[in-house]
Amino acid sequence: MLSPADFIVSEINAGIFMLDREYRVLLWNRFMAHHSGLESEAAIGRNLFELFPELPQKWLVKKIDSVFVLKNFAFTSWEQRPYLFRFQHNRPITGGIDYMRQNFTFMPMRDESGEVEAVVVTLLDATDSAIYQTMMQGAMQKLEESSNRDGLTGVFNRRYIDARIFDEIQRIQRYQAVPFSVVLLDLDHFKRINDTYGHLAGDEVLREVARRVQPGLREPDVFGRYGGEEFILILPQTDIEGARAAAERIRFAIGSETIVSGDEHIAVTASLGVAEFAPPFATAAEVTQAADEALYQSKHAGRNRVSVYVAQQSKVG
């Protein structure tokens, strides 16, 4: 009959095995046998790396040797190294991951003289925590995303845009990168649209404008709603002429067709202001202020147009 200790080692729902200095298996419990398909009689006395050629030998040898030399516990976690053995896990249907996630502990077993005679290895199945953590990360990311997004239009919100402008400025100051430009966009007579067609139609117009702008954007461009009927576009590594051209394309995309809301066909145009982040600008506020001044010129000059901010010549004398 097995002693209680032997019984527990054999039957516990965790992998336990033991290796000598030559990586030969000295003990192989039922969990290991069950998951590897290799009975303990077949494993004992054999070299671990011959039995499992898929193991990362170079790395694992170093780990095991360190336990013999340093006489210290060693660990590996699924978070850095998902698995060592290609074992099936107990969530074959709903898991969504390939092999059992594994946490290992390597323990020095000392003889009477204090020398390490064997390394005992335990394997804990971490698949459930891995799945849980993956799910949680997904949820966190969605939450993070949603707090960067404008609820109505789905484009970035002002908080996010401000942070991105800040990032761009830092990048330029750190790496002397090519400047970026900012385009501010305001829908013309939006109040009249709301008054005439109602707020639901107004919301639909905002959503449709956001949809029409996006196909014309490059990958690094950042587009968001800046508040009310105002949108903003950051164009990294774009000078004022490039930004003016982009703004013209956007103006055209918005005004090219009427927007349909219910039975109504609503004509929409936008006024745009463009500014480049270049000396003497040093802050986000200065460059958006400049774009806002250009936008004001567009409005003042009759709307549905693009204006570019030109720095005032410093007065001499």
Partner: protein, 205 residues
């Protein structure tokens, strides 16, 4: 504070020496891994109040900077947590010294920090335990924080103890701008156990 928690001057001196010996072993192992000479510090010992822990850690690290830290729990005769705090350059230097190429990925870097931390914690605490005839076991180290301000490493509101013993040693490399701090924190009931272990140790001399 309960006087029972205060170390007598003799106990403090003994703990300092025991830590110093254990640290020598840890330093030698670090030197062996990295193949460079490791400079050892004089151990610093404090009783800290949980509300002041952030400030105490900041003081031990010296300058406010962003750090990466691992933590590892130990239990047995003594119970507590050890942290290894790597300074900003520490992680990169470590990868470099261990012969990794430039493009070490994040997971390998984390694994490296965990492994080196585990060696330091194991060598140091096993050394102390051996001298004091205490028995310790260790749980797996985990990443505590990456690139956070050192003053924000521990949130005092999450702590369940009022006083803890904080023992700090640090290792610097002669040839590099690398420092890591090993901090061991033991809560109240462990301080009492430690004090009697120190008393028993001192009886031998």
């Amino acid at each position: 504070m309960n006087d029972q928690l205060l170390l007598t001057p003799d106990q403090r001196d003994a703990l300092q020496e025991v830590t110093n010996i254990a640290m020598g072993q840890a330093g030698a192992q670090l030197a062996q891994i990295l193949e460079v000479f490791v400079q050892l510090s004089v151990p610093r010992i404090n009783i800290t109040e949980s509300a002041n822990i952030a400030g105490n850690i900041l003081q031990l690290v010296g300058t406010p900077q962003s750090v990466t830290a691992i933590r590892q729990a130990f239990s047995g005769t003594l119970r507590g947590e050890a942290m290894v705090v790597y300074d900003e350059n520490g992680c990169r230097d470590l990868a470099d010294l261990m012969g990794y190429e430039d493009d070490i990925d994040r997971d390998s870097e984390r694994e490296l920090l965990l492994d080196v931390g585990n060696v330091l914690v194991g060598a140091c605490l096993n050394g102390i335990a051996e001298l004091l005839q205490a028995k310790l076991s260790f749980s797996a180290p985990t990443i505590m924080a990456e690139n956070v301000e050192v003053g924000r490493l521990i949130n005092p509101q999450q702590l369940t103890w009022n006083y803890a013993l904080l023992v700090e040693v640090h290792f610097t490399l002669e040839v590099r701008d690398f420092t890591c701090h090993l901090m061991t924190l033991m809560p109240e009931e462990s301080i009492v156990a430690l004090k009697s272990a120190l008393d028993a140790f001192m009886e031998n001399f």
